[in-house]
């Protein structure tokens, strides 16, 4: 099989010519030239200190994020909403206005509700803070637009689904830094007491030098949205976005990034290479697109530390969502439900976090963001958000290809998995065959870089 055939096997929309052309458009230096410098964006609010918010991506998570933004201290108001689908926008509007019936918090007139692929372009200019919560494939273009417009940003993880997307986010992150924009990324463990307190102890040497790490995201999986009569292929994929790589990036990225990010955080570094294995065993229906249901990846850091990452979406199997660090003097186990346990190598307790009265980390993210905006200080999570996104993509590259993949090669790849055009009748990056099945990545065959 030719290289091109191999590529098309994985990413059928890409001819060699096609992806080089596409990537050139992605990589342009247009960003830098549009850079208006601003010192303290807060000064712009004038006499009325209301912070105006636009929600881009009105699904369940975006709606939750909007409610959290509106629950922060001080005057804050939702003024614009954007989504690809009108029904999602309407459901979201109902939810936020049920929670906040007062117009001082939610004031989104019909003219500020925008629908379609370019809806974000119309909503972003109307706000001081934008919430980016669409499926992750769109994050790079939305983040770029928001940074160029000089807006403060809350963006959900992950922040891209391929190497070119990550590069785009990293480039925009540099501009955000120069503009003193606040950027909070929804890796909420970074804002959770159990993690902050336990990792402080790890950093203070409680377990000695870290020699290895394990991370797990094992559960049953998520929703499936079946195909409906009359949908174009693009609409179907947008609705059932979890199962398509250009939109979701596979569950190793979409969910397991939380655990991967914790390991990067504690290591204060990013892996240099990865190898691993994965596949589809139970999630193999037509509604399951192209993604795997299990991955096992061995990441290697520059100092030789090995990080074993496991994620699985298989009902009925062992559930576990956790990170474990082993050091020369002890072990630490952390999890999102508030666990933070540090022991010596014989199991003797060093620290056990009691999380019963800890604040909600999803709320804390927004509290810190809005407090920073009001005080004129700057939080910028974009770089670690992008690099932990890249780490999970590196892992996916390893399991899809069955090869050892190097960080630099994965980050700098010319292969974009995004569509060349966004429209309801535009071709999708991957297409079903005559039986409705999608091409599945095949280790040993699939090329990823």
């Amino acid at each position: 099989m030719s290289e091109e055939k191999d590529l098309q096997n994985t990413f059928p929309h890409l001819s060699r010519r096609g992806f080089f052309k596409g990537s050139a458009a992605l990589l342009g230096g247009a960003l830098i030239s549009q850079l208006p410098f601003e010192t303290n964006a807060y000064a712009r609010y004038g006499a009325d200190d209301t912070i105006k918010v636009a929600l881009i991506g009105c699904g369940g998570r975006g709606t939750g994020a909007a409610i959290q933004a509106l629950s922060t201290q001080g005057k804050v108001k939702l003024v614009a909403m954007a989504d690809a689908f009108r029904d999602r926008l309407d459901e979201s509007f109902t939810a936020v206005s049920t929670k906040f019936p007062d117009k001082s918090r939610v004031d989104v007139p019909e003219k500020n509700k925008f629908v379609g692929f370019d809806a974000y372009k119309k909503a972003i200019p109307l706000a001081d803070v934008v919430i980016l919560a669409t499926p992750p494939g769109f994050r790079p273009i939305h983040f770029e637009e928001a940074v160029n417009a000089g807006k403060h940003i809350f963006m959900e993880k992950p922040v891209a689904t391929d190497g070119p997307g990550v590069r785009r986010v990293l480039a925009a992150a540099e501009i955000a830094k120069k503009k003193n924009l606040n950027v909070v990324v929804g890796l909420q463990r970074r804002y959770q007491n159990a993690y902050l307190e336990t990792i402080k102890r790890i950093n203070d040497g409680a377990i000695g030098d870290i020699t290895s790490a394990q991370a797990y995201w094992h559960n049953a999986g998520v929703w499936v949205r079946p195909r409906k009569e009359g949908q174009t292929e693009m609409e179907y994929q947008m609705r059932n976005w979890y199962y398509f790589n250009w939109l979701c990036g596979d569950h190793i990225l979409e969910q397991h990034i939380h655990n991967i990010d914790v390991v990067n955080w504690v290591k204060n570094d990013y892996p240099v290479s990865a190898q691993g294995m994965g596949g589809r065993q139970v999630r193999n229906g037509k509604d399951h697109g192209e993604i795997f249901d299990h991955h096992y990846v061995e990441f290697t850091y520059a100092d030789g530390t090995i990080f074993n990452s496991q994620c699985r979406h298989q009902p009925g199997t062992m559930n576990r969502v956790e990170e474990v660090f082993v050091g020369t003097k002890g072990r630490a186990t952390l999890s999102g439900d508030g666990k933070g346990i540090v022991t010596d190598l014989k199991g003797g307790s060093i620290y056990n976090h009691r999380s019963k009265n800890d604040p909600d980390p999803y709320q804390t993210e927004h509290d810190k963001l809005f407090a920073a905006i009001r005080s004129g200080s700057v939080i910028n999570n974009a770089e670690y958000g992008a690099k932990s996104t890249m780490t999970a993509i590196l892992g996916r590259n390893a399991t899809y290809s069955g090869q050892v993949i190097k960080w630099d090669d994965a980050l700098n790849t010319q292969i974009s998995i995004m569509p060349e055009k966004f429209a309801w009748d535009a071709p999708t990056p991957t297409k079903p065959d005559a039986n409705g099945n999608y091409p599945i990545p095949t280790p040993g065959v699939t090329r990823v870089i």
């Binding site: 929670k99 049953a220 009902p315 439900d337 019963k356």
Partner: protein, 346 residues
Amino acid sequence: MNLHKFITSGAVTVILLVAAGFTNKQPLPNSVANSFQEDKFDPYRETIPGTKVSFELVPIKGGEFRMGSPATEAKRKPDEGPQHKVKIEPFWMGKYEVTWDEFEIFVYKEIEKQSMNASSMAATGPSDAVSRPSPPYLDMTFGMGKSGFPAINMTQFGALTYCKWLTAKTGHFYRLPTEAEWEYACRAGATTAYSFGDDPTGLDEYSWNFNNSNAGTKKVGSKKPNAWGLYDMHGNVAEWTLDQYDPNFYAQFAKATATNPWLKPTKLYAHTLRGGSWDDDPDALRSAARQFSKPVWKQRDPQIPKSQWWFTDASFVGFRVVRPLKQPSAEEIAKYWSEPIKDYGS
């Protein structure tokens, strides 16, 4: 084999085609066999049809008791009074809290399919008409253990819908206990703070609580039962009842005997739980102690609307089932099932 029960549009029609069992050489499913025992009111084991998973039921005779705590009881709270007379109809009650072994068959259709043999596949029809929980976003065991451990973190709606599913599968009407039924069964004839007496130091023999649980649920039935043979009524997990929580509910019964009292829920919060959990101190484990659900139990659910099936922060919440001796009519049964109420982050 023909199915002996159907569910249509939320209303349950239970049609026992017992004759089908006689015209067929296959053994009767347990659910049909059990229906012959209704008058006997004995302990029995219900097998979830088509699976190897079963649970045990204990008969609780009808009677009268004084509900709530006397004003003299140590650590008593105002919502436990006034103490009043309650009359209860007979019912069976789960000997143990519902375990993950049982609950996951309901949560994951795939598990149900895999655990069924070919001949029993036909029996999936009616239960398919009951909606099932969305797969949980988090690991809902929170690492505390699964097989033999109580199922946790489900909402009252999730627990009640399990009962609806179980009813459809077995043909027996299962539901949550009312608060009154729960307290009656917990006391097992005792009038003391706990079913075994007033002294909390006795709890260690009967209960998994904050002092002995090492921060987690434990396998059901690993402590002593109460006088009526029910395990883990004090501790392990706090158990859902069928009631809306109202601290003043008892006042209306101060002067007259209440017969099968039940405050049917109309609001998402708060619902009543009983029995206390692994995370509770002794005062919350008393027979009369009432707990109620709180929005903070879903604080880490990042989606809006929040899940109608799961809590993210209530690993101390579980339930057990009851079955009234007199099986109600389909119309009566339908009144027990609730429609989900959207949770916009109350």
